[in-house]
């Protein structure tokens, strides 16, 4: 099944970023509530202590 493309929206007061399916049905209520599109956040790799010790 083809994956529905997504976009990132930021809340009106800027304290939350949400990944949303890019369909009018999903986007409309959020956009009406003042959420607006932002670039995709940079992906961060989680580094655990164990991984770091093993040099991963």
């Amino acid at each position: 099944m083809q994956k529905v493309p997504t976009v990132f929206l930021e809340s009106p007061n800027g304290d939350e970023i949400k990944e949303v399916e890019a369909t009018a049905d999903k986007l409309t209520p959020l956009m009406v509530a003042g959420w607006h599109q932002v670039p995709a956040p940079a992906k961060h790799e989680t580094v655990t202590l164990a991984n770091a010790k093993e040099g991963k």
Partner: protein, 342 residues
Amino acid sequence: MANINELMDGWSYGKQTAIGTANSTAIWRHTNLNTKPWAKVPVNEDDRAEIGKGHEFPTQLFKSHYNMPTYEISKYASSEFLAWVMAFSLGNVTVVGSTAPYTYTIVPALGATNPTGIELPYFSFIQQIRPGGSAVLDEMLVGCAIKGWKLSIKNSPGRSSAMCSCECVTTGQYTSPSGVTLPAVATPHEFNAGMISALTINGINYLSGGSAKQFVSLDASWENNFRPGFFPGSGNQDGYQIQGRFEWGDRAFAVQFVVRVQSGSMEYTNLINQTTGTATITFTRDSSNAFTMTIQKMGFNVAELSNTDGIATLQVTGVQLYDSTNGLVTMSITTPQPGVCQ
């Protein structure tokens, strides 16, 4: 001397970063059914009202302001032009797609949450006749905004069955020569009424079932009712004051449509019963070019019996209600054009 056919219009599909900062990179060139150039109107004033001169006649001229008229861009409806018009006139835009086609979802911005308050995105407009060393006209108007638009659909053949025009305003700031080399004329992916793939208004499907042959025409319009943008510090051009902002006033969204009357027509019933529902109008040209206008909650204000080319018709005036969840209207446009209002 030059024929008006030599006039070339281009404007930025990308937004300006600020009202006074031109966008001279994300520019396209389009044809325009409006055959006039955008006039610049500097206004002078005089001292006729001032006493102390010994007479009532004016003796001096003073530079006042640029009184820029509105300018119409009138085109056959296309995925590219509709994306541009809706994005710049409504303001809240989301785009998805890393390669063509791109899908834009657009709703009217609200002042409380819009990053630019009650101002919409601005674009730059270029008009040229024989640009170069001996140009007849070569200027870039900076700080343009869409005041309103009209979308009309009607029973007729060809491109004129789906038209879109918009009224633009500008501050008075300009650069001449523009410094822009316009690209070749774009080839927009145009729609016509035969490409309508959904047309349901307030529960009445005008494409299939009992009401399939009722539809005659539809006119939708948007008006931003901008307030004048002169204020202390708004700026000047050639010594004339220019506008430094276009803030929307009471915005208006109007929809009227005409349908043939038949036995059991639902329009009058919906009006009397104050029935409300969504209205969805979709054009689908192909998988890369589509336009959907979804009016979230529409009722009927007036349904008036009339005569259209000898056929008994109802002229219906809609009232578009604001839904607390989905707002007023959502435009969804799929187009090969990237970067619209970005």
